[in-house]
């Protein structure tokens, strides 16, 4: 598996792409593979506040329910409506399937997250990829 170098990652398997002001969030391909066929995604509405480290929604596969943890704090500006009817897109292309876009409250928070290389190492230790 390859992880985009311009993303940052969390140990909870979310990715975040930030330009310093705004960011896009999704889950990694490791997460979608672990979950299996994704059948349901529960995301916050635009305007909601999300807080770093806290849950902001959930993703469900046939067999599992998994919380989504915010990599950074901010206000949700856009939600990917496609995922309501076609959640399997995440399985097909996790890094290309964004879930929410937000304006960052503390842009510096992103710097503390894992780089692609560190995340890859973390995942290799976790599950043997």
């Amino acid at each position: 598996m390859s992880y985009p170098a311009d993303f940052k990652y969390t140990k909870e398997h979310e990715w975040i792409k930030s330009d310093g002001k705004n960011a896009t969030i999704g889950i990694t391909t490791y997460a979608q593979e672990s979950l299996g066929d994704i059948v349901f995604v529960d995301l916050p509405k635009p305007g909601s506040e999300i807080n770093a480290g806290k849950t902001f929604g959930s993703v469900e596969s046939v067999k599992a329910v998994s919380d989504l943890y915010a990599p950074a704090s901010g206000t949700v500006t856009e939600v990917n409506g496609e995922l309501a009817t076609a959640p399997e897109k995440i399985n097909k292309d996790a890094h290309g399937s964004w879930m929410i876009k937000l304006t960052l409250k503390n842009p510096g928070e992103v710097n503390g997250l894992l780089s692609a290389t560190d995340y890859e190492k973390f995942v290799a230790e976790e599950g043997g990829h």
Binding site: T10, K11, E12, H13, A31, E33, S34, L35, G36, D37, V39, F40, D42, S58, E60, S61, V62, K63, A64, V65, S66, D67, Y69, A84, E126, G127, G128
Partner: protein, 433 residues
């Protein structure tokens, strides 16, 4: 055992309502983190999932493996613990749960179900013994015929559900659930001592492979000299399969499709040989290996009960809606008296089918609420249904809430989400022309 697809960082959480007393004598074990298992998770909403162990596992903590375990792992199956067994839940190389489920509905899928148990009763009073412990009427069985039934406690609640096969004049085979192997065998042995018959636990003697789906008969016919078209649904025969003589072939299954289950010798080499030859023979029909994930979604669409969910030691036959398999005209069987009393007392709850109307998936253990948000029952099994492409569930509610068409709510992550009571089974296989 490696936790291939379930790790702490995913923080899998499973919300559910108050404890439902389930398997007798079980204990709860807090696990680091798990994917939601097919057994029932426990009481309160937690960040970690608690797995309820069956009585069997409480006394035998070592996880067991079927003879095909290495084969599943080599095929890259995601493994999960189910009732004390290390089993494949899905095969990513085959496409995963949804692909496996639909292969069975549209073509054929192959399952390793060797974790199931087998108890044989043989002797001049074998029928009487079976009649005593089983609620269905085994005297109706011709040689080679099978029936769905259940063994009940004196209170009329379930020890286990079972398929009773009549193999010979005084020769019966009971196929039982994996998690209740020891409990069931002890139950059968202890409750048939008064009958002239031998009770044997043959659970470890067989690798049981299920070939399920409309193309199952075509697949299996390539591998056997038995005339499968002559074997009706819920009948059995014997024949040479993959060169192995005298193999029991049963037209049974747990998928709500046509299909067969074959019982081959349990040594690893033979088991692997048969498994691979079945998959090879099935290539032209799109056969793929299928795990417990698809097994669960298939049986749910067909409203087939799962022990510990729709049936248990605190649920009786009437509540579970299994009346047609319970022959009260039999003068005696364990649980009969209690069932008669329960019938006149009236039902306190009934098993209904739910279809989600608003967005959300009802899962095992979730609370069912009335329109005012008052808790009235709970979900026994719930999931996305891959063939029907709907979110469905089975639930216990008081009879007054059980009318087809009425709406209830299911509590999902603290919110009441609308669901409708629908007829069951949710899916019925098309009748052959």
């Amino acid at each position: 055992m490696e936790w291939f697809w379930c790790h702490s960082a995913l923080h899998l959480r499973f919300q559910h309502g108050p404890e439902r007393s389930l398997t007798h004598g079980c204990r709860r074990r807090r696990l680091h983190v798990r994917v939601m298992s097919l057994a029932i998770p426990a009481a309160q909403p937690v960040l970690l999932i608690e797995e309820k162990l069956s009585a069997a596992e409480a006394t035998t903590p070592v996880t067991r493996r079927t003879a095909l375990n290495a084969v599943h792992r080599r095929m890259g199956a995601k493994m999960v613990e189910f009732n004390g067994w290390d089993m494949p839940v899905e095969y990513p190389s085959a496409g995963g749960i949804i692909a496996e489920h639909n292969a069975v509905r549209n073509g054929v899928g192959i399952f390793d179900v060797s974790h199931m148990g087998d108890i044989r009763l043989q002797g001049p009073e074998a029928l009487a013994a079976v009649q005593h412990i089983s609620m269905n009427d085994a005297s109706r069985l011709a040689i080679g015929q099978a029936q769905y039934s259940a063994m009940l406690y004196p209170q009329g609640t379930f020890v286990d559900d079972v398929i009773v096969h009549r193999l010979g004049d005084d020769d019966y085979l009971l196929v039982i659930n994996a998690g209740t192997r020891e409990k069931d065998f002890n139950w059968v042995r202890d409750n048939t001592r008064q009958f002239k018959c031998k009770v044997e636990n043959l659970s470890d003697d067989f690798t049981q492979i299920a070939v399920q789906g409309p193309k199952g008969v075509d697949l299996l016919q390539k591998l056997t000299d038995a005339h499968l078209s002559a074997v009706k649904f819920y009948w059995v025969t014997r024949g040479t399969v993959c060169g192995l003589k005298n193999i029991l072939i049963a037209r049974t299954g747990y998928t709500a499709e046509d299909g067969f289950e074959i019982y081959v010798p349990a040594d690893e080499a033979t088991s692997a040989m048969v498994w691979h030859r079945v998959l090879e023979a099935g290539k032209e029909f799109g056969a793929i290996p299928c795990g417990l994930g698809a097994r669960n979604t298939l049986r749910l669409e067909g409203k087939l009960p799962l022990y510990g969910h729709e049936i248990s030691d605190t649920i009786n036959v009437w509540e579970a809606g299994l009346d047609r398999f319970c022959k009260m005209e039999k003068p005696e069987f364990i649980g009969r008296a209690a069932l008669e009393k329960a019938k006149s007392a009236g039902m306190k709850r009934t098993l209904v089918g739910l279809e989600m109307v608003e967005r959300g998936i009802a899962r095992d253990g979730y609370k069912v609420l009335d329109d005012n948000g008052r808790e009235i029952g709970y979900v026994t099994s719930g999931s996305y249904a891959p063939f029907l492409k709907k979110n469905i569930a089975l639930a216990y509610v008081p009879p007054e809430f059980g009318d087809i068409g009425s709406t209830v709510k299911v509590e999902i992550r603290g919110q009441g989400v609308k669901a409708q009571i629908v007829p069951t089974p949710f899916y019925k296989r098309p009748k052959k022309a």
